[in-house]
């Protein structure tokens, strides 16, 4: 095959890969073509051809960066939100309430906080799930950057009779811990249990509440240090952290499947160590958290 034809064929491949969104593959082909042009003494207007190629490569870079910046958590249509809720309500045959909780958690995990709030609000009517729903309502408000709303919510609950004194105490400790992790000194009303009250049985949640996590960094700008991040959402052993743009550099080197042996977990009752693995990492591209990162860590053992 003639050199010219060969180059043409390679460029055709590059363009096809680009069109299909296979950007790395396209890049390799453009590079291959550039090399062939550069090293071929027979080609006359090299400068012009190479300039044209590097322009194409630049455009490709722009596309790659857009893709690498990861998913946006778009505000979805209510129809799409309904679908997410339905799709992730796996227990609908066994228990309608359990399914409703799963659906609401999924909405929160996909960044649909406003809608998740509505669903958690509905779950407040349910005795068995009230405490879990309440905690998640507070988490949603905090994810939406309205700490005050979260505190106000608690105060309303503290005055009402929806929760027992014990339950309120669980919620208060949880929320104060969240505030403390954020460096906020917000004190919440302590509700005294009536003296004769019998201690209610603890709700069995599948995993202890973790409010913050310490990650030892093995590379990057924070190498050798343990950095602490708040946990924004938790479902079982999966922790979701929202990491601000300015801390982005610290987690630059963490990738999906990176694992850690010595994570520190901070819970309202204890600090303990364990291992975990990065389950997902992405940048938030829209909404109030735009530019921040979302990191999911799965606890593998404690």
């Amino acid at each position: 095959m003639g050199d010219k034809e060969n180059i043409k064929r390679i460029l055709q491949e590059a363009e096809l890969y680009q069109g299909q969104g296979l950007l790395n593959e396209a890049r390799l082909k453009y590079d291959e073509a550039s090399d062939l042009v550069r090293n071929n003494p027979k080609i006359k207007n090299k400068g012009k051809i190479l300039a044209g190629l590097s322009k194409k490569i630049n455009l490709l870079e722009v596309d790659s960066q857009k893709v690498e910046r990861g998913p946006s958590s778009p505000e979805l249509s209510s129809k799409a939100q309904d679908l997410i809720q339905k799709l992730f309500s796996f227990s609908k045959e066994e228990s309608a309430e359990e399914a409703a909780l799963e659906g609401a958690l999924a909405l929160a995990r996909f960044g649909q906080f406003e809608r998740a709030l509505e669903e958690f609000d509905k779950l407040m009517a349910n005795d068995a799930h009230r405490v879990v729903a309440a905690k998640n309502i507070l988490r949603c408000h905090i994810a939406l950057d309205s700490e005050e709303t979260a505190a106000d919510k608690y105060e309303v609950w503290a005055k009402g009779d929806m929760f027992s004194a014990d339950q309120l105490e669980t919620i208060r400790i949880f929320l104060e811990q969240v505030f403390e992790n954020k460096g906020l000194k917000r004190k919440l009303t302590v509700v005294q249990a009536p003296a004769e009250a019998v201690v209610e049985e603890k709700q069995d949640e599948e995993f202890i509440d973790i409010s913050a996590i310490g990650i030892p960094l093995e590379s990057g700008p924070g190498k050798g240090k343990v950095v602490e991040f708040d946990v924004n959402f938790q479902s079982g052993n999966l922790l979701s952290l929202i990491i601000s743009q300015k801390d982005g550099k610290l987690i630059e080197n963490l990738e999906v499947d990176s694992s850690f042996e010595d994570l520190q977990f901070y819970s309202p009752i204890a600090i303990f160590n364990g291992s975990g693995v990065v389950a997902a990492k992405s940048e938030i591209k829209a909404g109030p958290k735009q530019g921040d990162y979302c990191l999911d860590i799965k606890i593998t053992s404690t």
Binding site: G21, L22, E25, L87, F90, D257, D296
Partner: protein
């Protein structure tokens, strides 16, 4: 897990299109949506990110009518293929009854096919499912590119890479042109219903 509603005599099952990013899963569903109008029972919903990449999933509901006295409903989903969406991929796979694995015939995507199949196996395992037992078919997509002189793998090569141990039905095709798409889905449905019938014993 399929839902079997005894009273209404109705079965709702879940088929997931799995495979490497950009392999053509969404295009498969779009073709099915356009072509099998009679069986489509609702809108196709897609949640995409930059450059049409699937962000959460695509969803398409179908109804196959009555089979052995039971109304069969199927929900088709695609997972996001890009590596970084692994936790979404796993969530979408939950409760799966049958799988169409869409492999990319492009020679440059050889490794990605194999990695994605491995990822499928690992995710199924976490749900207590075995890739050797679950209803599964392979679809070798983008065969049309051969005409344009783009290097693609032979069917033998793909079979060797992906199907040597699995030995499941495989279908060369093109989601863009619609070749091999319907047959792959039909075979997957056949295997899925056979396996559900064994499990739920609705036909007896």
């Amino acid at each position: 897990m399929a839902i079997f509603n005894l009273k209404k005599r109705e079965i709702e099952c879940k088929v997931v299109y799995y495979g490497p990013g950009r392999g053509g899963k969404t295009t498969n569903l779009e073709y099915i949506f356009k072509t099998f109008r009679k069986q489509i029972t609702g809108e196709m919903v897609s949640i995409n990110t930059e450059g049409d990449r699937t962000l959460f999933f695509d969803f398409l509901p179908m109804g196959l009518g009555k089979i052995k006295g039971c109304e069969i409903k199927v929900q088709l989903y695609t997972v996001p293929g890009q590596v970084q969406y692994s936790s979404t991929r796993k969530l979408v796979l939950r409760g799966v009854d049958g799988i169409v694995f869409v492999a990319d015939s492009l020679a440059v995507r050889r490794d990605k096919n194999m990695l994605s199949l491995k990822d499928l196996q690992a995710n199924l395992k976490e749900y207590g499912l075995n890739i050797f037992k679950i209803p599964l078919v392979l679809q070798y997509n983008k065969r049309d590119l051969e005409e344009q002189g783009i290097p693609i793998m032979s069917v033998e090569q793909l079979d060797h890479d992906l199907n040597r141990q699995l030995k499941v039905p495989s279908f060369p095709g093109s989601a863009l042109k619609g070749d091999g798409i319907g047959v792959a889905l039909k075979e997957c449905m056949k295997l899925t219903l056979k396996s559900l019938q064994k499990e739920l014993k609705w036909a007896q």
